[in-house]
């Protein structure tokens, strides 16, 4: 009896706490469905829910028929998808190759492994001004290609270290047998090691995607115009220009957040491992 009461209390407390904790987020979701007159009202739920914010933000642009301010964000969404998936593909392959060399052949020794790890810890703002110069010199400033070129500075260290962990759980014996049978090291990597670490590879690609999707500072400084600007940078920039248009802003925020929330929940088993580069399993 006493145990049951305790169970109920813990459950009520746990759920109450979580709902309160997430209230700001639910508030944003609620606001995104509010019609124009209710944007500023201090109520979490819309009295007359509407999907107009979403339609205008995504497709038609403008705010309640007034055009000129709010362009449709579809274009930025497409930029985000292109950048994030390219970075995910690029860094997961490059990171896997590198991790394999570091783990199996001790290539570069502890110094190289340490150096890659230390890149995770550099605040990006520090090296962005040289990178502006660099991308301008090679003609990649303000292009999708430029962002795809620079983002790996964030994602490559993460993916490399994550893949080191993934390859560690692949047994060496089959690889050694294949080497004795005359396969080249690269064939062993492609045909034997990589397939066995495929879950790790997929997860690290997803991590690269998540980190690229959320990146704000790099596109803010390297891609100031709409041709390459991804959605996060646009949302930040736009919110500073037209501060209190809460309805459309909330709608775009929900559109940006939804994919990453779903991905994070789908891979939650690996989330801690990924965020700590495999140091916490």
């Amino acid at each position: 009896m006493r145990a049951q009461v305790f169970t109920i209390l813990v459950t009520i407390f746990g759920w109450g706490f979580a709902l309160l904790y997430l209230l700001p987020f639910f508030w944003m979701v609620g606001t995104s469905f509010k019609p124009i007159g209710e944007w500023g009202l201090p109520t979490p739920l819309p009295a007359n829910p509407t999907s107009r914010n979403y339609i205008e933000v995504l497709v038609t642009g403008g705010i309640y028929g007034v055009r000129g301010h709010f362009p449709p964000i579809l274009r930025y969404l497409v930029n985000s998808v292109i950048i994030s998936s390219s970075v995910a593909a690029l860094t997961s392959i490059l990171g896997a190759v590198t991790a394999y060399g570091v783990l199996r052949y001790r290539a570069g020794g502890a110094f190289f492994a340490n150096w890659v790890l230390s890149l995770r810890m550099i605040p990006p703002v520090v090296i962005l001004s040289p990178l502006v110069v660099l991308t301008k010199t090679i003609g990649l400033y303000n292009t999708l290609g430029g962002l795809i070129f620079v983002y790996p500075i964030i994602t490559l260290p993460i993916v490399t270290w994550f893949m080191i962990g993934a390859f560690k759980s692949v047994p060496r014996e089959t690889e050694e047998a294949a080497l004795l049978d005359g396969c080249t090291p690269f064939q062993v990597f492609i045909r034997i090691a990589l397939p066995q670490a495929s879950i790790g590879l997929a997860t690290s690609a997803i991590f690269a995607f998540l980190f690229s999707w959320s990146e704000f500072l790099i596109p803010l400084l390297l891609a100031p115009s709409e041709t390459a600007m991804p959605l996060t940078a646009f949302a930040g920039y736009f919110s500073n220009q037209y501060g209190i248009l809460w309805g459309p802003l909330s709608a775009s925020a929900v559109i940006i957040s939804l994919p990453v929330i779903m991905i994070a929940i789908a891979i939650q088993r690996y989330l801690v491992r990924g965020l700590t580069l495999g140091f916490i399993k």
Binding site: T7, G14, V97, M121, P123, T232, A235, I280
Partner: protein, 297 residues
């Protein structure tokens, strides 16, 4: 046969060298130059001028303190609150804890810019928080624009945002630690009549020491990068109250109309931030994460 390992790491080595080593060299080169594209056509050699400027720049010193101050609020709060949540969320008595754990991933996964946008709405002068304060009979506060009055408010707001976003990460990691304690140990302790809290205090906490240190270091390092939420909520203001070092670098190096705007000077500030980060990185690499052990053994 020559070791094929080098072939494996060569592409990444070249790539990262272009992305990191070239900019670092450029950074050191620029610390001896001054350059503001608004007035100058090209960087001009300036000797030690930037070093004299930084020595007399009270804003630079303040921005370092502001950065460390913000860190000193957020990181301990995240660790404490995160550990408590982890204990709650690993309790076998909590019904639906798997669902709860999933939805607690929301703050963690949304981009920091969106966290900023979200909370800007909450802290808005006529927003829900102030309405709530008025309703319960308290004074509404100008959370984001208190130039005189209670200037702690604005720091508090930024701290709340970062704590909100990253506490679930700490909770998740600590929960992983709690759950990795072997079942036998827990059963043995339960047989000896240990309560759950006693078990956490005497078994879980000592065993998860390494985990907690790793979390601490990752949080410390990331808190030196806090930028997005400052950009979104305060833009370093009011005045330069919330201008932490990364944001000061942004202002000096990328907002050409700001006071002291100069890419050379921003480079010197960047070197300072790099040094602070390096000290932390060395602590991580030497004390906690022995790479030789983690990777090859």
């Amino acid at each position: 046969m020559k070791s094929p390992g080098l072939t494996f790491i060569l592409p990444a080595m070249v790539y990262l060298s272009v992305l990191v080593i070239y900019p670092t060299i450029y950074l050191y080169y620029m610390t001896f130059h001054t350059f503001n594209p608004l007035y100058d056509l090209a960087p001009r050699y300036a000797g030690l001028q930037n070093f004299f400027v930084i020595a007399q720049d009270a804003d630079a010193g303040y921005s370092i303190l502001a950065m460390l101050f913000l860190t000193s609020i957020t990181v301990p709060a995240q660790l404490a609150l995160g550990s408590l949540i982890a204990i709650l969320f690993t309790s076998p008595r909590l019904r639906g804890r798997l669902v709860l754990r999933s939805i607690m991933l929301i703050p963690l996964s949304i981009p920091a810019v969106i966290v900023g946008l979200n909370w800007k709405m909450i802290f808005f002068t006529y927003g829900p928080l102030n309405t709530f304060l008025t309703a319960v009979g308290l004074e509404p506060q100008p959370w984001l624009s208190a130039p005189f009055g209670n200037s702690f408010n604005t720091f508090f707001v930024l701290a709340v945002l970062d704590i909100w976003q990253w506490t679930p990460f700490v909770a998740l990691a600590v929960a992983a630690g709690i759950e990795s304690i072997p079942q036998q140990i827990q059963e043995a302790a339960a047989l000896d009549g240990a309560s759950r809290l006693q078990m956490i205090r005497h078994i879980v906490l000592p065993l998860s020491k390494t985990i907690i240190i790793i979390i601490l270091l990752f949080r410390l390092i990331d808190s030196l990068k806090i930028f997005d939420i400052i950009y979104m909520l305060t833009f370093g203001g009011p005045g330069n109250l919330t201008t932490t070092l990364p944001f000061y670098i942004y202002k000096v190096g990328f907002t050409l109309t700001a006071a002291k705007a100069d890419i050379g000077y921003a480079s010197l500030l960047s070197v300072v931030l790099l040094l602070i980060a390096t000290v932390l990185v060395l602590m991580v690499l030497t004390r906690v994460l022995n790479v030789r052990r983690v990777v090859w053994e």
